[in-house]
């Protein structure tokens, strides 16, 4: 993969409405400096189809933020999300895209605590992996 020094990964995050990521309640999409956040009602909505679609559309990395296990607002949505994320990771591995392009974090985050560190690390990982071959520039 061609490693460009100015490579700015396009990262899409999915989060549920309840896990505390995101600052406003109204916009379904929010822009953070390092990633764009798409908010769903519950991470249970996430299927491997959706995650792979995001990669197909050219995202360099995808993060799923959900509530901690057992703390899902709907009790069970994140269990399904965990399963789907694992499945998608194995599919990405098969495709040679590396499952590390997909990260799932099931924890509550404060606005400032923890989130930045995770995202810094993830962005670094994705930078090392290089751009998504399907990325359209």
């Amino acid at each position: 993969m061609n490693q460009r020094s100015d490579f700015q990964p396009k990262i899409i995050a999915f989060a549920c409405h309840w896990c505390g990521i995101g600052r406003n309640e109204i916009n379904p999409v929010e822009e953070f400096p390092k990633f764009k956040l798409i908010k769903l009602l519950c991470t249970g909505r996430i299927s491997s189809a959706l995650l792979l679609k995001t990669f197909e559309k050219g995202a360099d990395g995808v993060v799923v933020f959900g509530c901690p296990e057992g703390k899902c607002h709907y009790n069970f949505g994140n269990k399904n999300a965990i399963k789907e994320c694992k499945l998608s990771q194995s599919m990405l591995d098969l495709l040679g895209m590396n499952g590390k392009r997909l990260r799932s974090e099931f924890d509550f985050f404060d606005q400032d605590g923890g989130l930045d560190e995770i995202m810094d690390e993830f962005v670094q990982n994705v930078k090392e992996l290089g751009p998504n071959p399907l990325r359209i520039d």
Partner: protein
């Protein structure tokens, strides 16, 4: 142009006799679907709204109707071309599994993708880069991952195949970067998607420098034999289904097989049977295994019924009914094992039996022919 499709498929020859609809397995369950009506409607008003008709997506392309049609209308080609126009007009069928396979294919088709799909090649399987034979695995590793909860052991098909080939002294070549043959995209009207996958495969196959390509997927075989030459000319390669290969070998060589005391029956995959005329070879393969008691289903051979869904599209209530009836039919032969030669049949029949409400008396194990033959050879 729809008028071109009518001309090309000879749809205007339709006599309105209704034989197609009478034989159509979908119509049997879903009364709103009728091949005759679709054809007549399109012929009568080519500018009409057939493209937006969602019933266009109910066809299984099982070719049942086409064999009965007195006018020789190419109904499956009609469906294929109409779906292409429909897709271009923005109409689509209901894809299953959230359309995950289309994403997979689109990613696979990218030339910069380096797949990592050979984990299933265990050390006891002998493969070689210098061989006349190439085993085209197709989507099996992906299906195996995606349908892991069906316990259908899909990747075992590939492993058994290599074992079988090894048994007959063939160390097949295996491609690291082959991708889906494009069958499903072609049949859901995405010609561009098909071409991008096929181009990648054609290049790989040409570079592989082999004489024979063995497949375990009848859909792939149909696509290689009939569709690739249409777009890319003759590749100079003989494409064989694994059952063709085995049946040829067992008639020419004497082999020792382990007896398997099982009552089995066989599902003719549409592509293998009606499309390619490979009815006899799978039966020869089954018959060669000592101890096996083979029961023919009532509807078999040319009359065999489809496994209920195709191309990951419109897998609905009627598909389920069709599958349940077919499984009941298989069970009623007294067989304990339903054999098939197509991974999709395996997936669909396993899936249909997955739910708790499935009637216990109709439950029947489903397996691919290759895995059983491999077992008879000494097994994995």
């Amino acid at each position: 142009m729809i008028t071109d499709i009518i001309k090309k498929t000879k749809a205007y020859f339709c006599l309105d006799c209704g034989k197609c609809t009478a034989i159509c397995p979908v119509t049997r369950y879903n009364r709103s679907y009728s091949p005759r009506k679709l054809v007549i409607k399109t012929v009568n008003s080519p500018d009409g709204n057939t493209l937006s008709d969602e019933r266009l997506w109910n066809c299984l392309s099982c070719m049942m109707c086409q064999l009965r049609c007195p006018s020789g209308i190419d109904y499956i080609e009609f469906t294929k071309l109409m779906r292409k126009d429909a897709r271009e007009s923005g109409f689509l069928g209901q894809s299953t599994h959230g359309n995950v396979f289309e994403s997979l294919w689109k990613i696979m088709a990218n030339t910069k993708i380096n797949q990592n799909r050979l984990n299933w090649v265990t050390s006891d399987l002998k493969v070689s880069d210098n061989s006349e034979y190439l085993y085209f695995v197709g989507c099996l590793p992906y299906f195996d991952q995606f349908f892991s909860d069906l316990n259908a052991q899909i990747i075992k098909i590939a492993q058994s195949t290599v074992k079988i080939l090894n048994f007959f002294g063939v160390e097949p070549k295996i491609l690291k970067d082959e991708c889906c043959c494009g069958h499903d995209l072609l049949w859901t009207g995405d010609l561009d998607g098909f071409k991008s996958l096929a181009e990648k495969n054609v290049k790989l196959l040409k570079d592989a420098n082999v004489k024979y390509v063995i497949t375990t997927c009848p859909e792939g075989l149909v696509t290689f034999r009939f569709d690739y030459p249409k777009f890319f000319g003759d590749l100079g390669i003989k494409f064989l289904h694994i059952t063709e290969f085995i049946s040829e070998k067992i008639t020419s060589e004497r082999i020792e097989l382990k007896p398997l005391n099982k009552k089995v029956t066989y599902q003719d995959p549409c592509r293998l049977g009606r499309y390619l005329g490979i009815y006899q070879q799978p039966r020869e393969v089954i018959g060669s295994i000592p101890g096996i008691e083979f029961k023919e289903m009532e509807r078999s051979g040319r009359k065999s019924v489809c496994c209920g869904t195709s191309c990951w599209t419109n897998c609905d209530r009627y598909s389920k009914l069709m599958q349940m009836d077919r499984l009941k039919e298989a069970k009623s032969t007294g067989a304990e094992l339903l054999l098939t030669a197509c991974p999709k049949c395996l997936i669909h029949f396993s899936c249909a039996q997955k739910d708790e409400n499935y009637p216990e008396e109709n439950r029947i194990k489903v397996a691919d022919l290759t895995t059983i033959f491999c077992e008879a050879l000494g097994g994995i």
